[in-house]
Amino acid sequence: MLHLILFSVFALICVAGAVNLLLQSHPINSALSLVVVMGSLAVEYLLLGAEFVAAVQVIVYAGAIMVLFVFVIMLLNAGEEEHTQGSRVSWLLGIPGVLAVTVMVCWALLRSESGSVALGGVPQTDKAFGGARDVSQLLFHQFLLPFEVTSILVLIAIMGAVVLAARPESESRRQS
């Protein structure tokens, strides 16, 4: 029962943050509501017993990635977004489509609850499941090669970011 209450409260906060992201016109407000979404998602992960993932969610997503976003918003001095012709077309075509698909998916999922293919509840275990020890044992044995490949991916991403964001050679020479 307590789990259900906690789930509902943080699911509501999560959806409210996501809707607020859409409604705000200034990017800094959108970024802050995205932080709210990520924080409440971390609580949902904790409810599911995923301690390591919840910690990483707060540190990497709500911490590092969002700091990057807020930094770029402030660096570029982004203002209110303006509405144009393109946004009207996407409003007319996109919103009904997205709504229809979402309602269909939610209806199918909730209907399966009472049918023969019921997904059932998530079992609550007493012993820790998904702590750093369990996850790292899996990560460094079975998933060692993908782990090393992602480290190369991050290295390439860092180099790409530096190359892309660096001032062009001619421009920096002109200023000095």
Binding site: S90, G130, A157, L164
Partner: protein, 100 residues
């Protein structure tokens, strides 16, 4: 006990919010944040299924998704900075060189 389908519905709603933001927003940074929202929605269903079937590999996949999202954010924001330097705008309607 919370039914698994509730988690999946929350994940679907988050993903739909991300898609909607991707469609209706004109500011390139907000569009980028909508993509992060979609990734978060997918992560939630990964963790929910992992808890349901007691399979830890779901958590490892979430870990990989986070790494890819971090790499994507770094490169994407660098592209936005480079774009702003040449075009002086963040509105995607004015970034249309590849459009027919």
């Amino acid at each position: 006990m919370v039914p698994l389908s509730y988690y999946l519905v929350l994940s679907a709603i988050l993903f739909a919010c991300g898609v909607t933001g991707f469609l209706i927003k004109r500011n390139i940074i907000t569009i980028f944040m909508s993509i992060e929202l979609m990734l978060n929605g997918v992560n939630l269903s990964f963790v929910a299924f992992a808890a349901k079937w007691h399979a830890l590999s779901g958590h490892v996949f979430v870990f990989f998704v986070m790494v890819v999202a971090a790499a994507e954010a770094a490169v994407g924001l660098a592209i936005i900075i480079a774009l702003f330097r040449t075009r002086e705008t963040l509105n995607i309607d004015q970034v249309n060189l590849l459009k027919l």
